[in-house]
């Protein structure tokens, strides 16, 4: 008996103390979040695979590689610029302007100081399991904003102009709005209860508004509009590739959604959204999945079964319900995403035909219009929901405040930067090069050498498809004579 007691006492003496157990659990909790974010980043890469395939498929054969390379080089320029100054903007601009020194918001003391590129947390740090993967998740969102613009401007923008614009959008503009309205300490959140939990507006809407500013300066592709300003349609060289790209984007969106939540069970009992308000991973997975269903349905009916717009409708549907994905019932998300699919098709058609803006993939409609629409819907269907660490109730007025802040924040830099590039003749490729195809000038090769070339086709406003060469040459003559395509000719 004495021996058993001695053994038991010895075992007790070897057992870790409560503090040691707590420390181990805390470490496990942090490592779990580190692993979670790491794999959201892996899944989010699929968004960029998808954007590349989607846009390359939508391009004509002569522009395939010049289209695809934009998506790849987005990573080459946004990654370092986001590391050197983008993340710092997120950490230090939550009050609106630069925070005092490295004080950071009260809620997370010192976060501002942790975002400078020379901070310990921005390098190898054995004591910190969260900052690096958190940075990476935001970096992937930044690539996404660039990729949203990328599709709209294909077949006539200079690669280098796109890269400059995407640095501005991905590493300055969107991350500024994220600091203001997509962080627990952002002034729109703490003062107005602005609620955009899965980034309808802060990623999609802002990228769409920036893109609109660029497109107004870039102008339409040669041949896009006839003498009366009616829109013609270019046939993408591979619609299957485009649809596969969209499906890859959808897959990556699950990573995107997941990366908008976080959990550290030793600090909070459950999942939190970006504002620190409780939700669950299951709740947002419900909404995204049924959001695709509603969006596909709306896109199909609004476009009368067009395959491109049916899939784009799915994307629009999800974007329309993302802002409230943490609070919507699935049935509500289904209904709202259906309307999102309708809105995307109708607004895309209006932008193309009435505004005469050549957005090659409908990015302004799908991401821009539906991004703003999603935040607008939260004001109606989630008003009163307590948002953020201050528990300020979401409201229609607060949502409008966010929309009014982000529209100029996004549109003006896009417009001004594109205008400057245009003034220096660095925005658009020469008309001759556009006519021949960008791939010959950029890469000196045809990327489908094994396939015989067939005459390029174009769809007229009345739906008839004809050979494009005479139309493009006629428009080329107008461009070189100083008449912008799409300009309505009197009489």
């Amino acid at each position: 008996m004495a021996s058993m007691l001695a053994s038991f006492t010895s075992l007790l003496a070897q057992a870790p103390s409560l503090e040691e157990v707590n420390a181990k659990v805390d470490l496990d909790s942090q490592v779990l979040l580190e692993v979670f974010y790491f794999f959201t980043v892996v899944v989010m890469w699929l968004i960029h695979v998808g954007f590349m395939a989607y846009e390359a498929g939508a391009a004509r054969r002569k522009n395939v590689m010049s289209t695809a390379i934009k998506n790849i080089l987005t990573i080459a320029v946004v990654t370092p610029s986001f590391y050197y100054f983008g993340w710092y903007i997120y950490g230090c601009f939550e009050p609106g302007g630069p925070a005092q020194g490295h004080a950071g918001p009260e809620q997370f003391p010192g976060f501002c100081g942790q975002t400078a590129p020379w901070a310990a947390e921005m390098g190898p740090d054995l004591q910190n399991h969260l900052n690096a993967v958190f940075f990476l998740a935001f970096l992937l969102f930044s690539w996404t904003t660039g990729s949203i613009m990328s599709g709209a401007v294909i077949e006539r923008i200079r690669l280098s102009a796109y890269l400059i614009l995407t640095v501005l959008l991905g590493s300055a503009v969107w991350i500024m709005d994220a600091a203001w309205g997509w962080s627990s300490g952002g002034w729109l959140v703490t003062n107005y209860g602005f609620h955009d939990s899965i980034a309808s507006l802060v990623v999609h809407g802002v990228a769409g508004a920036f893109t609109l500013g660029v497109l107004l300066n870039l102008g339409p592709r040669i041949g896009k509009y006839d003498m009366l300003g009616k829109a013609r349609t270019f046939r993408g060289h591979n619609t299957h590739l485009t649809l596969m790209g969209l499906m890859l984007i959808f897959t990556g969106f699950y990573g995107f959604y997941a990366a908008c939540l976080f959990i550290t069970s030793t600090s909070f009992p459950g999942w939190l959204n970006i504002y620190g308000s409780p939700t669950t991973l299951g709740a947002i997975a419900f909404v995204i999945t049924i959001g695709f269903a509603g969006g596909f349905t709306g896109g199909w009916f609004a476009s009368k079964g067009d395959p491109f717009w049916t899939l784009s409708g799915g994307l629009a549907g999800v974007i329309s319900v993302s802002a409230g994905a943490d609070v919507y019932h699935p049935s509500l998300a289904y209904l709202l995403s259906f309307t999102g699919g309708l809105v995307a098709v109708w607004s895309g058609t209006w932008i193309e035909r009435k505004l005469r803006i050549d957005d090659a993939v409908g990015a302004v409609a799908v991401h821009g219009v539906c991004g703003f629409y999603g935040v607008f819907l939260v004001g109606i269907f989630a008003g009163g929901y307590p948002t953020g660490l201050n528990n300020v109730e979401s409201s229609f007025g607060g949502q409008l405040m966010g929309m009014m802040a982000f529209l100029p924040l996004a549109f003006i830099p896009g417009y001004v930067a594109a205008w400057l590039l245009k003034k220096f003749n660095l925005l658009r490729v020469p008309a001759e090069v556009e006519l021949e195809g960008l791939d010959m000038a950029e890469f000196q090769q045809d990327f489908f050498p094994e396939f015989e070339r067939v005459p390029e086709g174009i769809v007229l406003p009345d739906g008839e498809e004809v050979e494009s060469a005479p139309i493009l040459l006629e428009d080329f003559a107008r461009v070189t004579n100083g008449n912008r395509p799409g300009t309505r000719v009197p009489g």
Partner: protein
Amino acid sequence: MIDSFPYDEWSDKIAAFWTFGPENSTGTYIMTVLGIILMVGSIIGWVWLENRKLQAQAMLLRAAGGMPAPGGIPPGPGPSQPPLAGPSTNPGD
């Protein structure tokens, strides 16, 4: 036994060893500045190089007289101009 490794002691040594780490060292600042120079320089390089390519191709097309068939093969065999950059398309290279 893996649970007998002196992890904390090793961690201190590794953290002290990391090249130009972990924070606020002169090396970190220098690497940051060099990285920013590379980033800005590469963007300038993209603008300059692409402008050269596009102007050369546009000039070639104008000099050829008439405009190419849209999306058509450029005149003559092989590349329409000497490649200014990028991988060679000649399998013999």
